[in-house]
């Protein structure tokens, strides 16, 4: 589903991501963990075509993000760490805009908005301007927007930040639904307990380099993910 091969991204003289390779297969929830500034966001942004890599290749279902970004972007959805939405639109207008861009038929978008907005208890707020939303509400709108076109691959940067417990639970359920339907999830998080319980596979990045990856059992063995992570960070 998502193949990252020898990804390198350099800012000035600093290597933000250094020769990173990862493969995310259909049906997998892949967690991406690392300390602040380790290169998680840079990697995720490169995967969705926001940043151009300085080296390496990223493919979505075999299509290169570098050479055919539009085809890749049609298959995926991205939720950034900070939900930067258009303040000048209402929630419903924002969702309709996203649906237009992804070419979601009118009937389907109506149904999905009704369904997801009800799940996240956002229906009553859809006519309000996004500027009036709280951080959590913006995050919920971002999630609904990401699910609008039923993407095969969802890339999320710290998706649980700002969500209330119910919404966090819902999101986890929805992530599972995507994977059961043959899709894949690649997301970064600092909440190691969530990663441990939710992810099929996990990758740990430190100073731009991948230091461990594999199934949850392979990475943590008999320890907790937190212990392994702290141990690796200390090395």
């Amino acid at each position: 589903m998502l193949q990252i091969e020898h990804l390198t991204k350099i800012y000035g003289e600093k290597k933000a991501v250094d020769d990173l390779s990862l493969h995310i297969a259909p049906g997998e929830i892949y967690g991406f963990i690392g300390h602040n500034g380790a290169g998680k966001t840079t990697t995720l942004k490169a995967c969705v075509g926001i940043l151009q890599p300085d080296g390496g290749e990223i493919r979505v279902n075999g299509t290169s993000v570098r050479t055919d970004p539009i085809t890749c972007k049609k298959q995926l959805a991205y939720i950034p760490d900070n939900p930067e939405l258009y303040d000048y639109m209402s929630g419903i207008k924002y969702l309709n805009f996203i649906a237009d861009v992804f070419g979601v038929p009118a009937g389907e978008r109506q149904e999905r908005i009704r369904d997801y907005a009800a799940r996240f208890e956002m229906t009553a707020n859809l006519s309000q301007p996004v500027a009036s939303y709280s951080h959590g509400m913006k995050q919920k709108l971002s999630i609904i927007a990401a699910w609008m076109h039923s993407p095969r691959l969802i890339i999320m940067d710290e998706p649980f930040v700002g969500l209330d417990p119910k919404a966090s639970y819902l999101l986890k359920e929805m992530m599972r639904e995507v994977c059961e339907g043959g899709g894949a999830i690649f997301f970064s998080t600092h909440v190691l307990e969530v990663a441990e319980k939710l992810c099929d596979k996990v990758a740990i990045i430190k100073q731009g380099r991948l230091i461990r990856s594999g199934t949850m059992e392979e990475v943590k063995g008999d320890d907790s993910l937190e212990e392994v992570f702290l141990e690796l960070e200390a090395e």
Partner: protein, 533 residues
């Protein structure tokens, strides 16, 4: 603490002069000096020159009549008017809507310091506009009629009093706008409407003032006496400019007392206005059938939504939408008289310039539309939304271009058709007036978007930065004025050699060629630049 905040505010205002947002590096000293020099030339030579010539025409006659105070009164009032006019549009957002409100309010900073630092921005904006009138007026007065040290000190004190008074009025107006806008639903449109009424009043008084000044110069002594007896405050205001200590004291008190009241008003209301949530009136969502559109139409609608959501954006970058039709209607009413006057003034040979001058005038009006220039910068941090969506960067840019083309070419077509209806000449010439006008509007749209892509600034705390203070908008505005001159002036010298049809056809062809070149750049390198922002 206050010094820190003032420094932060000054850094925000002058950030573009010291820091290149494109390269994320500090500018070289030479580059900073050059930018300041260009700004100074613009303010002093171009704008200062206009008001300097007005001051020069008033100074000697009034001084000769022993009415030096009246000189200061007239120019002082004009500078107050311009200062308030210049800063009123930005006072509300500058004072209350900065994006770092929450950050600053969460820190242990006394509220009065935050207000004071915001007032600095408003003060500097007002000072800049007032000084544009008063500084040349003072220099001309000091040079043409030397007045000694007290006179010089009085003039400087008058400038300070005027700038403080402008700050005071701007704050009151900004507070009023804040109070009203909290109760409005279509805030941006109502703000635009109110501003346009203000603008209309400004130009009405401006044109009336010309007649008034001429009348005043003819009967200076009589009017001087009338003003002195009927409005003694204005006499005191003028005398302050001459350096009269008692008048200076009275003027200072007249500003300081209401100033203290305004300060108290701001201190009491700032927190509630700055932290008022947007859209306080909540209406529950009622499901309606959603229409689907093509991705490009969705992007275009997004541009329209951005444009119409901000009164600042509409007022600063979209006035041509109104001025072109108004100009067209005025031409239909007064066009024949204007053509006759111009024909008489230009003579039989240069009379052929009228269609070209009409085209240049239309360019001046359409230059008020430069919404494409700040459109890239206005994406701000939300640029990642479009960058992550499956749309080609060129589609996003094309939507920005279409916004300006739609809002410029429609009104331009009407204005140019009105011009074509009143100018003398055959059908070919009339068609060429319309064609050249439209080609100019199209060229400016492409040119403005090119500037927007080449000079982006995505890191701003107030939307006024990209809309009013960005390099792309400055170059777009002054570049389009130069472009209007470039269209109108050469033909004044070339009209002896060929007719206006050939000249306007050449203008149209050159515009088309320039559009073609710029569009090619936008589709390729421009789109790549946008994608990598």
């Amino acid at each position: 603490m206050l010094r820190l905040l003032l420094k932060k505010q000054l850094t925000e205002i002058f950030r573009g002069y010291f820091y290149n947002v494109k390269t994320n590096k500090a500018r070289a000293k030479s580059s900073t000096i050059l930018m300041f020099a260009l700004f100074t030339v613009l303010m002093v030579v171009v704008l200062g020159g206009i008001f300097g010539s007005l001051a020069y025409s008033l100074c000697l006659p009034l001084e000769g009549a022993g009415l030096g105070w009246l000189y200061y009164t007239i120019l002082g009032l004009l500078s107050i008017f311009l200062g308030v006019f210049g800063s009123v549009f930005s006072t509300y957002s500058g004072l209350y809507l900065a994006k770092d409100n929450d950050l600053l309010l969460s820190m242990p900073i006394p509220l009065k310091y935050i207000i004071a630092s915001r007032l600095l921005s408003v003060y500097l904006m007002g000072l800049m506009y007032s000084a544009m009138v008063l500084l040349p007026a003072l220099l001309i007065r000091w040079v043409t009629a030397p007045c000694g040290v007290p006179g010089v000190l009085g003039g400087i004190a008058l400038l300070l009093i005027v700038s403080a008074f402008v700050l005071l009025l701007s704050c009151v107006l900004g507070w009023g706008v804040a109070k009203i806008s909290r109760r409005l639903r279509n805030k941006s449109f109502i703000t635009v409407l109110a501003s346009l009424i203000f603008l209309g009043a400004y130009y009405f008084f401006y044109f009336k003032a010309q007649d008034f000044l001429q009348e005043l110069l003819r009967n200076a002594a009589e009017y001087g006496e009338k003003i002195r007896s009927a409005a003694y405050g204005l006499y005191v205001f003028g005398r302050a400019g001459e350096g009269d200590p008692l008048s200076l004291l009275l003027c200072a008190v007249a500003v300081l007392l209401p100033g203290a009241a305004v300060w108290l008003l701001l201190k009491r209301s700032f927190l509630s206005i700055a932290t008022a949530s947007v859209g306080t009136k909540r209406t529950a969502y009622r499901e309606r059938a959603l229409r689907s559109r093509s991705p490009f139409r969705a992007l275009l609608r997004r541009e329209f939504a951005r444009f119409t959501s901000s009164a600042n954006y509409m007022l600063n970058c979209g006035l041509g939408v109104l001025t072109l039709p108004v100009g067209g209607v005025l031409l239909l009413i007064k066009g024949k008289d204007l053509v006759e006057t111009l024909s008489a003034a230009l003579g039989p040979v240069r009379g052929a310039c009228i269609p070209v001058l009409a085209c240049a005038a239309a360019v001046l009006l359409v230059s008020m539309n430069d919404m494409a220039a700040p459109s890239v910068s206005l994406e701000g941090r939300q640029i990642t939304v479009v960058q992550s969506l499956p749309v080609a960067p060129w589609s996003v840019l094309k939507a920005k271009l279409c916004l300006q083309l739609i809002l410029s070419c429609g009104p331009m077509l009407f204005a140019a058709a009105c011009a074509a209806a009143v100018i003398p000449g055959g059908i070919a010439l009339r068609l060429l007036v319309v064609a050249s006008g439209l080609s100019c509007a199209a060229f400016l749209a492409v040119f403005d978007l090119t500037l927007g892509v080449r000079m982006p600034n995505l890191q701003w705390t107030s939307e006024l930065a990209p809309i009013k203070q960005s390099a792309s908008v400055m170059v777009a505005l002054f570049g389009s004025w130069f472009y209007a001159l470039l269209i109108g002036v050469p033909y004044l010298f070339l009209c002896e050699f060929f007719g206006p049809e050939i000249y306007l056809a050449a203008v149209t062809a050159l515009n088309a060629a320039a559009c073609f070149i710029l569009l090619r750049w936008l589709k390729t390198k421009g789109a790549a630049t946008f994608a990598s922002l």
